[in-house]
């Protein structure tokens, strides 16, 4: 039996949790190796050897060391095509292209404003940093525009890429979880009928619920 794959990083990190939920969806056994960012372990030489940008997560299996959460998810989906949720990577080339399109939209349009909001609203107070109200306002306005596009898309499509749950939907789980559960901005999502329906469906999947447990542990 092959050794379990290793994921390095704290489960609370959005990028780390993206990889964890993918592994759980695909039924791929893994070992989570803690990395304390408070102790700057992600900037130490041993870690930098795996991830030269000093970011989390890093990933290892018998054949490779990889970084970048979405690249790791793709690798897992390609290496284990017949395990777990098989629709994750798209069941045909056109669905896969649609998945890629919405995964890129997530990276380019959803992540920047949602990350700023999550940081400013959830993390800045915890780190005793002053919140930047102008930045919050600006990024909320950007996120609203993106969610309007999603609202429209999800009115004619069950999931972002099509009829089935794919990596494109999965990738949204970490940041949305923060915004819906840990801030008072949940209504950005819950006030939009189709987005709200989609969020209920994807966030109650057993794999994601397990990751949330790991985050709260």
């Amino acid at each position: 039996m092959a050794t379990p794959v290793k994921v390095y990083g704290p489960p609370l990190s959005t990028a780390v949790s993206r990889v964890l939920v993918c592994l759980l969806e695909k039924d791929v056994p893994f070992q989570l190796v803690p990395v304390s960012m408070a102790k700057m372990e992600h900037k130490k030489p041993d870690y930098i050897k795996m991830q030269p940008f000093g970011q989390v997560p890093a990933f290892q299996d018998d054949d490779i060391t990889l970084f970048e959460s979405r690249a790791i998810c793709r690798y897992i989906a390609e290496k284990y095509p017949n395990k777990g949720t098989m629709s994750l990577f798209g069941t045909n080339p056109l669905v896969k292209a649609s998945m890629d399109q919405w995964l890129e939209a997530e990276s380019q349009s959803f992540i920047p404003p949602s990350s700023v909001l999550a940081f400013q609203i959830v993390f800045a107070p915890r780190m005793k940093l002053k919140q930047d109200e102008a930045l919050i306002k600006q990024n909320e306005a950007k996120l609203v525009k993106v969610l309007d596009v999603y609202e429209n898309r999800l009115g004619s499509s069950q999931y972002l890429a099509g009829d089935e749950f794919t990596l494109a939907d999965l990738s949204h789980l970490p940041n949305t979880q923060f915004l819906v559960e840990k801030t008072n901005r949940a209504e950005l999502f819950t006030s939009r009928k189709n987005v709200s329906r989609w969020w209920s469906e994807i966030s109650t999947r057993p794999a994601w619920k397990k990751v949330v447990e790991m985050q709260n542990a």
Partner: protein
């Protein structure tokens, strides 16, 4: 019926054009004037709901996001033209890794430099020297990682030119050109050699010619 690529004058669509040339796929270009707001018309938003470039039409099929488009064509035509994906699952893993690095680490600071230096006064951008300074510092740190990587590997993902290298061409072309910070590339021996190699590929020279 040939693939239509919207917005050839701009950088992101050039990722697509370059991929299509490498894969020997015929295409047409459709101009879109961002400064005149042609990306915000209802007709355009039907194609690309975020109002960004590029978008492609291949018969009835529409696809947006340049990195999604290049993945689609690189896979669909895997056995034709240059193999941009890598032969093994592990090679493909590395291509995807460095393509993500380009999207998340390289592109954002470089895009800030492009917007503030080249597009000052447009799209609501007001040139901000602090943003320029911080973006140059961030980009420099990323290039230091590239310098180390390219001292051990001819191209980013390995010994083969891939989507990961390709994705860097259009905006790096701005960096060494109108942005005026070519020294960031030239001062780094291995990055410089890599840039000299990829920027003189006949396919890239062809894209620049088409888009003149």
């Amino acid at each position: 019926m040939v693939v239509k690529v919207y917005g050839p004058a701009y950088a992101s669509p050039k990722r697509v054009l370059l991929c299509l040339v490498e894969k020997e796929i015929e295409f047409e270009t459709v101009p879109v004037d961002l400064l005149a707001g042609e990306n915000l018309t209802p007709d355009f938003l039907k194609l690309q709901p975020f109002g960004s470039l590029p978008v492609i039409q291949d018969g009835d099929y529409t696809l947006f996001e340049s990195r999604a488009i290049i993945r689609y064509y690189a896979e669909k035509y895997k056995s034709q033209g240059t193999d941009l994906l890598g032969k093994t699952i592990e090679d493909q893993g590395l291509v995807n890794q460095w393509l993500e690095v380009e999207a998340h680490n390289y592109h954002p600071p470089l895009n800030n430099l492009v917007l503030h230096i080249m597009f000052n006064g447009h799209f609501g951008i007001v040139r901000n020297e602090q943003v320029i300074k911080e973006s140059e510092e961030k980009l420099g740190k990323v290039l230091d990682v590239y310098e180390d990587r390219l001292s051990k590997s001819k191209y980013l993902a390995g010994d083969f030119f891939s989507l990961a290298d390709l994705s860097h061409l259009p905006f790096t072309n701005y960096l060494v050109g109108p942005v005026g910070k070519g020294y960031m590339i030239k001062e780094r021996k291995h990055v410089s050699a890599w840039w000299d190699d990829i920027s003189t590929r006949p396919s890239w020279l062809k894209v620049l010619e088409i888009c003149k």
